[in-house]
Amino acid sequence: MAKTAIGCEPTVGSLAPSKKREYKVTNRIQEGKRPLYAVAFNFIDARYYNVFATVGGNRVTVYQCLEGGVIAALQSYVDEDKDESFYTLSWACNIDGTPFLVAGGINGIIRVIDAGSEKIYKSFVGHGDSINEIRTQALKPSLVVSASKDESVRLWNVHTGICILIFAGAGGHRNEVLSVDFHPSDIYRIASCGMDNTVKIWSMKEFWTYVEKSFTWTDLPSKFPTKYVQFPVFIASVHSNYVDCNRWLGDFILSKSVDNEIVLWEPKTKEQTPGEGAIDILQKYPVPECDIWFIKFSCDFHYNAAAIGNREGKIFVWELQSSPPVLIARLSHVQCKSPIRQTAMSFDGSTILCCCEDGTIWRWDAVGAS
């Protein structure tokens, strides 16, 4: 990466904890022996704000956070294929509001589980290799997008089971796609990143008719005219190594590589000339000992804070939107030592969950918050 020019330096957060908020471990669950790769709260439906799910091995488990640090297991799903290893999950819902759990992993099959009836709703076969991340469009929660090792990002309609768009091809990723995220307000826009060290911003504006068509499609899903989106609107080289997590923060993007930090940057795209543009790196949030890939961070509902685990089992909670960034808290526990693959922040950030390589789930609650 080129040296930053004078006057374009990012503001780097200080690792000195502000003690703005204190967290305490309130629970720990050993779910199994296999590593847990993802944990996520349900932000789609207000009824389930305290419900979260984890994936690991061939298992998907649904829990509820209750008062006093209690975690109640609600549902558990096991893939009959023992070799399946789920890497990611996302909450979604059907158009009638039924809560869906969408999970994917090494087999490349997307499992859409109807949590309302505790049945598998659909399985999407199509990805040519393992699925690294699934995200839900908050404005239209029956749309999910998946990032795969097959170098593609695909947009699915969980209601009709249609693969609407494939983001791959001439301008697509050149290696595994590790992470993908919907823009919070621009419904056409997604950002994806992966092992080719780039972050790509895609627009599906020109293809939106296909998205609409997918809702009314009555024929077989396989007959849907799936389109390839071959060219992203912007390709950003922010990192010089694998980029394993990216999230929109408004119009900015938070992304992380294996360089012990989360980077906040602004993509400056030009509408007239897609593909061109510049990046402005605004802030950096240091995360020590976070130099292995496939560690993902998460934000609370309003994007006030982000929590990220590291290789040694510690969690760093950053205040995202202050400048310079403020480290809200650094969480550690003697017995939490294995790498934390993903964290989950509750709606208001008062609860932080993390799932670890050793198959444990840890719950941290903010002190003073009920």
Partner: protein
């Protein structure tokens, strides 16, 4: 961090040169204002500047010799200031973004609220199970004591010690309530990388290259990431990247130099500060200063004249307008933005041109309201009683203008302009450029237009004819004669064309004479010219004509002796003719007087092109090329004028380079026309023998290459730009390929592949020279190769009765079998055939990205690691890579005992890979072919049991799945 507003007693030297060290108490504001004005970069916080100014004040007193320490301190304070600015900027952006985001998340929040409410209302009775479980769990929790929560005192942050007690509180409910629900197994797909379907090969685009790029390969099994790159290349790439100066750097640069002056020391420290080279900094400073001056000037002028951009297209000449066409249009595939041959190909202009469009008489009908036919009828019936003839039958009128007309401009082209020689064949650009400049001279020439027709008639035989009968008759007669003459002329020309050199030799002296002649003439005509230049003065011209006529006659007199063919004296140029000529021209020029000027460069260029394409058919030219710009009548008038001018120009021999270029347009068309005809004649004469010798020669060498190919790959063809039959310098010849129809050389080129003339054999065996040379037949080249349309079911009779269609054009015509993609019986994916086929049937093409061998080596490193490679050696230049782009045949597996084989075939100048049936294959069978890896490189699964050191023509690779097979 807000700006420190305390007005310190800061002093400033606002401009060292102009105001000599003026101390101002409150200069900060003025300076800041000036900065805003000059730099367009607004410092909102001036805390750093305050210090700077304070220090500057002292410096100012001290004089101009600053120590490096001072310089550094100035730079430092500026840097600090910039940094503070940056912080504030970021903060501002963050706040803006935050405000926007709050609205967004609140919206999402209400959405999720609505969702929950609506569901609750709708399904009050049958609660969904997730909600039910939620309530159950809550109920159970309330039933129990809150034991869990109370144990949690010890878990804490900041590494504080935690007892193991906390670990007890746990999965309550887990064991009792939750029973795992099984997700039925779904068969997963064999792995693949998302790929794009290609129905034809594509050349790799620059951004797809992995050469010089660092790639990280993640080894799934070892769990480690490996960096695959060549270190040297990588370094080069990263260092080469040039950073642009950003606003803040510009600001520091300006301010520093403004404060401490420009010196090497300053530049050095600045360079260090920016981590660039001092000269880079200096260059940038100069740019800035210039920009500043411009900005100031602009302010003073305060007017913006940016309206010049309009109409830019029409101001260009044809060549410029065609620039994008030349760059983007592929002349081989006849598409824009060709993915196979790429943009900005070398332009190859054929030495031979096609005949102008051959139109039929049924188009005698006026083409529209503005057709010249109608216009003429209205205008002057008397003079042009049969204008239709003029337009239609007199197709090659430019050529009808005398031998001199035909030959001399070309001679001029070759003799006088080197530039033209370079482009000689079509000299499009030159002509259109020249048109531009020649316009000015044309207006001068106009008065002499009457010359032209006379000059026409003064040419050899015609001169006689005209003299004897034509002159006294009406114009229409003359026209007919002209046609007649021109026909004779052409015939003669055909004979003469072979001996061009001789003719040109003859022309030389004549040209010289002409030149001197025209000088005289010019002198004479100057007065008239002057007058005619102003369009309204029409009448004076008439009066001057006699003078011109006389000059003409002398001129003709000079002309004749130089032409051996001419026997009779020029005579016959009676006043009558000249009058008539004049009259005709008059009528033309009437409109042209205004018309000529209103013809834009591009229109003229288009007209010239139209003349090439359609010949003298103003209807077609106007309709196809000048639609919306000029009407048919306009075109016709212009055509008549230019034609006259042209011949005139030839005659008067003012012979400026420029004119020579512009004329080439016409003459080239004519010339090539003649050439093709003469060739035709020649072919007719001794076809058989010649063709055989050529063919056998080409055939032999090609076959040789085929035999050589076992150890030497085919060679990539690039069209040569030879102007005449290819000699030893021909690029194709040097490269060892045949010339193809895309080459510039004429069809008679000895290096051309002559195609076949198979009939009954249908080009299906090695007896067909095309087939034997691993080429597909090309109807453009082969003599008897044809295919019918459809299968006769639509009632269309087949084109020929013999039913011997060529069977060697299947790649070209995409007559391929339906291939299905499915789970292989062997491993991974496989390709299957839908319908059964016979032996040697063409199944389909193996398409992919065309990459260089170097690129392939780089990509191969990764593919080999994954044991999944789709590389296919195509020829000496290219390798096909079907990894991300290709078709279903890339999934055909390897087998040592295959039912298919691959073959590199030359199709219309491109090498392509066809997959053929080795034996009869039944419907639904899986396709296999021998990948033919080089013995030493083949993976274990592709190695043959016995070493057959035979055909190693192409190294095919494919999905590594087949490895499980062996």
């Amino acid at each position: 961090m807000s700006s420190r507003a305390t007005p310190s007693a800061s002093a400033s030297r606002s401009d060292p040169s102009k105001d000599s060290q003026r101390y101002t108490l409150n200069s900060r504001t003025s300076l800041a204002a000036r900065q805003n004005y000059l730099f367009g970069w607004t410092p909102r916080s001036i805390s750093g500047l305050d210090d700077l100014l304070a220090r500057k004040g002292m410096l100012g007193v001290q004089g101009s010799n600053q120590s490096s320490k001072d310089i550094l301190s100035v730079i430092d304070s500026l840097k600090k200031q910039v940094a503070v600015e940056r912080c504030i900027f970021i903060k501002k952006r963050m706040v803006e973004n935050n405000e926007k985001l709050i609205g967004v998340t609140n919206h999402v929040y209400t959405l999720s609220k609505e969702r929950s409410n609506s569901v609750i209302n709708n399904t009050e009775k049958n609660l969904d199970l997730l909600t039910k479980r939620q309530r159950d769990a809550f109920g159970m929790l309330n039933g129990l004591d809150l034991t869990n929560g109370e144990k949690d005192k010890n878990g804490s942050q900041e590494d504080s010690y935690a007892s193991s007690a906390v670990l007890v509180g746990s999965s309550f409910g887990m064991k009792n309530v939750v029973r795992p629900i099984k997700l039925p197994e779904v068969k997963k797909l064999p792995p693949y990388t998302t790929w794009i379907f290609l129905d034809r090969n594509q050349r790799m685009t620059e951004d797809q290259s992995v050469v010089g790029r660092r790639r990280i390969y993640y080894d799934q099994n070892g769990g480690e990431a490996l960096i695959c790159s060549d270190s040297e290349e990588e370094i080069v790439e990263e260092e080469e990247e040039k950073r642009e100066f950003v606003d803040s750097e510009d600001y520091i640069l300006r301010m520093t130099i403004q404060e401490v002056g420009l010196s090497d020391a300053v530049l050095d420290s600045l360079a260090q500060c920016f981590s660039r080279s001092p000269c880079e900094v200096k260059a940038r400073y100069e740019i800035l200063m210039k920009g500043e001056k411009d900005a100031q000037c602009e302010k003073k002028g305060s007017t913006d004249d940016k309206t010049q951009m309009d109409d830019s297209f029409f101001d260009k000449d044809l060549d410029a307008a065609l620039d994008s066409f030349d760059n983007l249009f592929c002349r081989r595939c006849l598409v824009f933005d060709c993915r196979l041959h790429g943009c900005s190909q070398d332009l190859v202009f054929p030495a031979e041109k096609q005949l102008p469009w051959n139109y039929t008489d049924e188009e005698n009908v006026p083409c529209g309201v503005n057709c010249y036919r109608l216009a003429q009828k209205l205008e002057s019936n008397a003079i042009r009683s049969s204008p239709v003839h003029n337009g239609l039958e007199e197709k090659p009128v430019p050529s009808s203008g005398s031998a001199g007309d035909q030959i001399s401009p070309r001679k001029k082209g070759t003799s006088s302009s080197v530039g033209k020689k370079l482009k000689s064949n079509q000299s499009e650009s030159a002509s259109s450029n020249a048109r531009n400049t020649s316009e000015s001279s044309e207006s001068e020439i106009r008065p002499r237009q009457d010359n032209s027709s006379i000059h026409n008639s003064s040419s050899p035989q015609k001169a006689k004819l005209v003299g004897k009968c034509g002159v006294h008759k009406r114009n229409s007669k003359r026209v007919a004669e002209r046609v007649f003459v021109c026909m004779r002329k052409r015939q003669k020309k055909m004979i003469a064309s072979d001996s061009d050199f001789v003719v040109s030799g003859c022309v030389w002296p004549r040209d010289m004479k002409l030149r001197s002649n025209s000088r005289k003439e010019n002198e004479e005509a100057t007065s008239s010219q002057r007058k005619v230049k102003t369009p309204p003065t029409r009448k004076p011209k008439k009066k001057e004509l006699p003078a011109q006529d006389s000059s003409k006659s002398t001129f003709n007199g000079h002309d004749e002796p130089s032409d051996e063919m001419v026997k009779g004296p020029p005579e016959a140029i009676s006043d009558e003719t000249s009058k008539k000529e004049e009259f005709v021209d008059e009528s033309i020029c009437k409109n042209e007087a205004t018309g000529d000027k209103s013809w834009k460069t591009i229109e003229k260029g288009l007209f010239a092109k139209g003349l090439e394409i359609f010949g003298r058919n103003s209807c077609l030219i106007a309709r196809n090329l000048l639609n919306g710009m000029k009407t048919c009548a306009d075109v016709y008038q212009y055509m008549s004028c230019t034609e006259n001018k042209l011949s005139n120009r030839v005659g008067d021999g003012t012979n400026s380079l420029v004119e020579g270029h512009s004329k080439v347009d016409y003459n080239d068309t004519m010339g090539s026309e003649l050439r093709t005809r003469s060739r035709f004649v020649r072919r007719r004469g001794r076809v058989r023998r010649l063709k055989y010798t050529w063919k056998s020669a080409g055939y032999h060498s090609i076959r040789k290459r085929i035999t050589e190919r076992k150890d030497q790959p085919c060679r990539q063809f690039n069209p040569c730009n030879c102007k005449s039959a290819c000699g030893k310098q021909c690029a194709c010849l040097l490269n060892g390929t045949c010339c193809e129809k895309y080459c510039g050389c004429p069809k008679s080129c000895k290096n051309r592949f002559r195609g076949c003339h198979c009939a009954k054999s249908q080009c299906r065996s090695r007896q067909c020279p095309c087939f034997a040379a691993d080429r597909e037949c090309d109807p453009d080249v082969c003599r008897n190769c044809w295919v019918g349309c459809g299968d006769g079911t639509l009632g269309v009779p087949s084109q020929r009765g013999d039913n011997y269609e060529c069977r060697n054009m299947k790649l070209l015509l995409k007559q391929q079998q339906r291939v299905l993609l499915g789970r292989s019986d062997v491993s991974g994916w496989g390709a299957f055939l839908k319908n059964s086929v016979g032996k040697h049937e063409y199944l389909g093409e193996y398409t992919g990205e065309l990459i260089s061998h170097r690129e392939a080596d780089k990509r191969g490193k990764i593919y080999d690691r994954e044991n999944s490679s789709f590389l296919f050696n195509l020829n000496d230049q290219f390798v096909l890579d079907a990894y991300r782009k290709g078709d279903k045949l890339k999934f055909a597996n390897h087998s040592p005992d295959p039912n298919c084989y691959a073959k590199v075939i030359m199709v219309a100048g491109d090498h392509r890979v066809g997959i053929f049936a080795k034996e009869r294959i039944n419907a639904g069978e899986e396709l296999f072919y021998d990948y033919r890896y080089e013995p030493d490189r083949a993976p274990a699964w592709a190695k043959k049991p016995e070493t057959t050191g035979s055909k190693k023509e192409e190294a095919v690779t494919s999905s590594g799945r087949a490895k499980k097979l062996a």
